[in-house]
Symmetry: C2
Subunit: 135 residues, 2 copies
DNA sequence: CTTGACATATGTCTTAGACACAGGTGTATG
DNA sequence: CATACACCTGTGTCTAAGACATATGTCAAG
């Protein structure tokens, strides 16, 4: 299959497939006539795995490690478990960060409700932001 | 003041100051002897504003627009209000995304609790991830 | 054969700084 | 004075994960 056919079959974009091909995560044969790449079913299987792992927010680098492990005949499961645990912890942090930012933005909007717009002075660019927020 | 002195005075890093200088957000004079950059109080004021806006997750590009508006003597407040509203909406989305990812990861860990590790087959790289999650 | 619509490969671009490198500066010592 | 060593500086390069631009290739209709 060609790049778009493969991409469509797994609901992703040709650019994504090309990227994974470029960095060697999936392989393709090259048509000598026109230089087009052709992917076999094995590549499709592999791409399916990659996309699933990306859904869990695994980085491409992590997936590379997993596939490398697997390619050597070893079980990648321990590595996968480790990554998913660590990703959960990290997501928890992002979650809290988003929460705090949301509050900060809400406060800003609320506090600014009653304040007028002003032209900048040499001292102040925009009095709404002025000095700072959480310091 | 030199780059580190300015950075320390506002609790940021020299690299950050250099970056803003490089893209022209703040300006500095150049010592001819050694090429070192020198910043005046106006630059400090400007940097303070930039850092405050970054705290609200404004992009550097957005801040560039705001400063440009302000530099022309116009009030940047309307633009600031607009950006903060839009950033709030976007943060809400990130918030929901983090929430969903967290659940997905928790489910994965839970579902995998009882499953053993397996060596890869030609068909399957890691049976834990196997086919997919939210499709 | 040619036109036009679509597909492809390759190279460049993106964010917001972090990091590596080579050289400058300043001060405590010999 | 010279030297050693710790710290500072500017410039150039690198990052993640594709998106986008460009030049070329393909294929069916006319």
């Amino acid at each position: 299959m060609r790049v778009s056919e493969l991409a469509n079959s797994l609901n992703t974009t040709p650019d994504t497939v090309r990227y994974y091909t470029r960095i060697g995560l999936i392989t393709a044969t090259k048509n000598i006539d026109n230089g087009y790449k052709f992917y076999n079913q094995s590549a499709q299987q592999r791409l399916k795995f990659i996309l699933s792992a990306r859904q869990l927010d695994f980085s491409v680098q992590e997936i590379t490690s997993i596939l490398s492990e697997s390619d050597q005949g070893h079980s990648a499961c321990p590595l996968v478990r480790e990554i998913v645990e660590q990703r959960l912890a990290q997501t928890e942090q992002q979650f809290q960060a988003a929460l705090m930012l949301r509050d900060k933005l809400r406060n800003a909007i609320h506090d600014w409700q009653s304040k007028p717009d002003k032209a900048p002075t040499g001292q102040m660019i925009c009095h709404l932001i002025a000095g700072g927020f959480d310091e």
